[in-house]
Symmetry: D2
């Protein structure tokens, strides 16, 4: 039975804690949060104790940590956890600064602890099936990937101001999907973006509507489109084209009910947002982490994956700013 | 916190026990089963004790029972639980004999205990949405209901021999769906049936392929088709036609992945069988039972619903045998 | 180049005449209609002449006739055309009386002329593909057929009064589909019906909502549901279940456009009615007739098919009236 | 009745000639082709005469010309037809050289004859419905357009060598769609491309797989993906995202038949290629041309549309070569 300390008792923290509790192989021992009240509530619900960071990391009974606190604390906590010899499950992004990500990765490598980065979409049943069927050869060699990823609405401006911008905050998930499904590292990035949803977004120096192109060394191509607005809910679809055919993973809906009336034939809108669409993905990613720690197997998503997605986001920022295609190194610094 | 005793530690019992454990309002106290080993295993998993029937029913701490043992024990257990003053959650069917069902209902009425009959499909998200949207007026007054309900394969012959026949064992769920969605009691039943899957089924006097028509007093019509064979999995679809349009609830699939290749554009088969398709329905029906007991509200599916579905099954048996449309009483004996 | 005389210049007549004109192998020579004006207009449009029946049938240049006049004239015209040695394309039904149908079939057999009965749905691309894929073995031996066939709205009451009733007028197409797809003659018929759309229909002794069950000698089952109302247009769907799987032919839509908005994800309603849905079927059936006449091959749909569908309709009428399953002879009188 | 002279008796020429013949308002008078045999065959089929260019253009009875000959002859023929005062229906592209396009446009403007450029996709029922529903306000102001346009297979290398390259030959249709649906001229173009289908394509200096981004002055974005390979047929889909929702136009299929078996639930592949998918679009575009000429209304697709699509194609060529985002003038030279 693995013992966990969890940093962060907010919305995502609550999900991880509940999934942990449902596992036969893990137990939540400590909850650490800047809000004592949030920590208390979550700890009580799952039979854990509230602790401070030092206590939790010093306790030799703790095997692993979940880092689900605010983004700016991820790297520090990961470094501290690595030094304490704990296995690390870290929410994405590791950090918004590549320099700090590299410092974190160095500490993790030095401590030789396993680290998992929470790219939950890799564990979504539909997207995971894409990956498995590509691996199985259903469409032959991959040629093009097309990712549509659109949020139902704008987050608060206060959030946008510290988010690192749309590419680092939102597209980063799609960069990870593109890398994972292309089966090859992108080496060129071209991006366009604008502010169509709310002019206030432009005032904080961000975009709300972007499109990206990626190209790998062998010439495979990927496209990503993002919007901070989708009146019909959370639009999460991926297409992969290969020599022998095309795979599409579509949206998920609450029911299969369809109405035909005098106006149209209509079905459910997609599940509303990431908590609904990726509920199963959150369950499965934590189970995968627990399984890998227990069996001392390689992490299915590692810190270099977190780093390389950020590299692509930074290239997109630059491409947008400079109006040119930006080349990136295919090999992540210290890659696997 | 409601305390439960559960009769039956088999496949369905395991599902109910797990759903009970996940509830914030219920606790599994006793497991009772003819197999001591099965009872032990299930009790251990959920922190319950193994008991015998007398002990469990005599314990005043027990608020409610789940009857998930073999069909021939349902009525007796329900009568005993009613006399002990426990709330009853009983798997369908209450019994295969209408006489024994009536005895059970009389005992339940006399004891004034709440009784829920496990027509889980009423809690399937898609089918429940049909019901809600009909109630909301999306298609106006209901005119016709069409139910396709097809199993992936034959159960063992040993099971078929004690099942009461296809109408009582399989179609009974669809009779309940038809009553629920028609919004009016069927008063006429016509049935056809044959043995197309395996001639061995005919030898035990049963059918494996049936079609039924139902008609209500005001002329609403329903059709049910059943087969004990569906090479592609579990086919569970319902259409409802009304004055203003049509609602269809389709099959559920594990993913939304679609492959286009040189042969076809193809998607997932439906979820394999009832454990997969109705996992959510099992969760929701037990939650509905717990909620109704806690808040002392009427049961959402009562013993008269169990009885009336059996009345329709018996009429179908007679229609098939006699080659004529059989009339049934619209009002269930002792109906609500 | 085959020369045609066409009886009937109404709505269906206009379709056949236009399809004839587009053929490289046929020419419309005469149009005959009770309305001189309708005949003139249609003849002028396609470079044909107006004629009376005697002239048209006496002209040795005429190879074939199309009978698209009112139902009560079909049998007489077919008999006259048979005696004149013309190949016959006759709109369904041959007649509403089985006695007169038999007289017509006797005349046709005696004259040894080919006769085609216009069950156009056999030539609908989707339904035809069902038949071809069954023949190809895609689903193994057929077990059940389910036919949904629903009109957008009621025809005028004046039409209903002479239509022969819903089974003879509307269900007759579905009886033909059932026979064709079951691959075996139905020998038992059970029917239910009511008047849900308009009470005026009951006053003329008809139904507007019916459901039928059919069974073949080997136990194959079929279901048909009909309504004279479908708020969303013309609902024409067929399912065929076999040992190895299920084939479904769905509705056709004008476009593939789908809208996702704050309310739903919605697509086109089905094509409005038979003229839209079966436009291609009308083209292909006439081409098939022309081809069969030119190459002296057997008619793909013959007069016995017209007769046997009527036999099933009459059995349904009796089943509805008498409340019992009606047996019919599997072998059409004078069958092929 | 408009009289037509048609240049070109090849595959597309045969389609236009047949659609012309079916019109009540047009007649094919002359066919002109470098192959006397092809001209003879087509002329004979539609009751036209074979002529040479001079004769056809000099005949005052000729109201309009269809230019469906090889691309390198389009501009010259259009100029000659303009000088002869004929209305012009010209297959796309007008020319592969912008200079020659401009010369052609100048001649057409000077002669004040109407000219239609054959962007047939604007007349595809599904794509046209997109445009109409945007105009109707179904999705509010347009924000993003995503175009997937993929051919079933490579054309012959000999064709590729004179095609002008993938952007001018294939993407040009998609540039037109993007302009039409964005409702605003693109002013920035970024492109990536590679050779994944066949290395021989690279040898002739072309690509077979490209992705493009476009941006309008107000910040609207569009993406186009193209491939010269799609194992499942002709993939032609467009998505448009607006403030209030999303419209998608999907592929068209020959039937609606769906098979569920032990492997999957599978439907038809898309129609094979442009002749199948756009058969209706070809019919409707010619009808639109005839209607506009007859009623002296503005051409629904004019020469400036042909020019501006070429401008975007040239920008894509440059973006691909130079690795930067290329700006283009929003206003077509001599725009309407």
């Amino acid at each position: 039975m693995l013992q966990f300390a969890q940093f962060g008792a907010g919305r995502i923290g609550a999900i991880h804690a509940a999934n942990l509790s449902a596992s036969d192989h893990a137990r939540l021992r400590y909850v650490i949060d800047v809000s004592a009240e949030a920590a208390e509530t979550l700890a009580a619900r799952h039979g854990a104790s509230v602790a401070d960071r030092a206590t939790a990391l010093a306790d030799p009974a703790v095997d692993a940590v979940i880092i689900a606190s605010s983004t700016d604390t991820h790297a520090d906590l990961a470094i501290a956890a690595a030094r304490a010899g704990k296995a690390i499950f870290c929410e994405k992004p590791i950090d918004l600064s590549l320099r700090r990500v590299d410092a974190c990765l160095a500490a993790v490598r030095k401590a030789r602890v396993p680290m998992f980065v929470g790219f939950n979409r890799r564990f979504d049943p539909s997207f995971r099936t894409l990956h498995e069927r590509i691996a199985r050869g259903d469409i032959g060699k991959v040629e093009q990937v097309i990712i549509s990823s659109r949020d139902p609405g704008l987050p608060p401006l206060a959030y946008l101001e510290v988010s690192g911008g749309q590419f680092r905050d939102m597209t980063i998930h799609d960069f990870d999907m593109a890398r994972w499904l292309l089966g090859e590292e992108p080496v060129e990035v071209a991006a366009m973006g604008s502010c169509l949803v709310d002019p206030a977004v432009a005032k904080v120096g961000d975009t709300d509507s972007v499109m990206v192109l990626l190209k790998t060394a062998s010439g495979r191509l990927a496209h990503i489109n993002n919007s901070r607005r989708a009146a019909y809910g959370y639009d999460q679809r991926i297409e992969v084209h290969g020599v022998k055919g095309r795979l599409i993973a579509g949206n998920h809906t609450p029911t299969t009910v369809e109405l035909a009336d005098g106006r149209a034939v209509s079905g459910d809108k997609p599940l509303y947002f990431f908590l609904e669409r990726y509920a199963e993905a959150y369950r499965r990613e934590l189970a995968a982490f627990i399984e890998a720690v227990r069996r001392k197997r390689p992490m299915p998503v590692g810190p270099e994956d977190g780093r390389q997605a950020l590299v692509l986001a930074e290239a997109a920022v630059r491409s947008l700013r400079e109006g040119k295609t930006v080349r990136v190194a295919a090999t992540a610094k210290g890659a696997r």
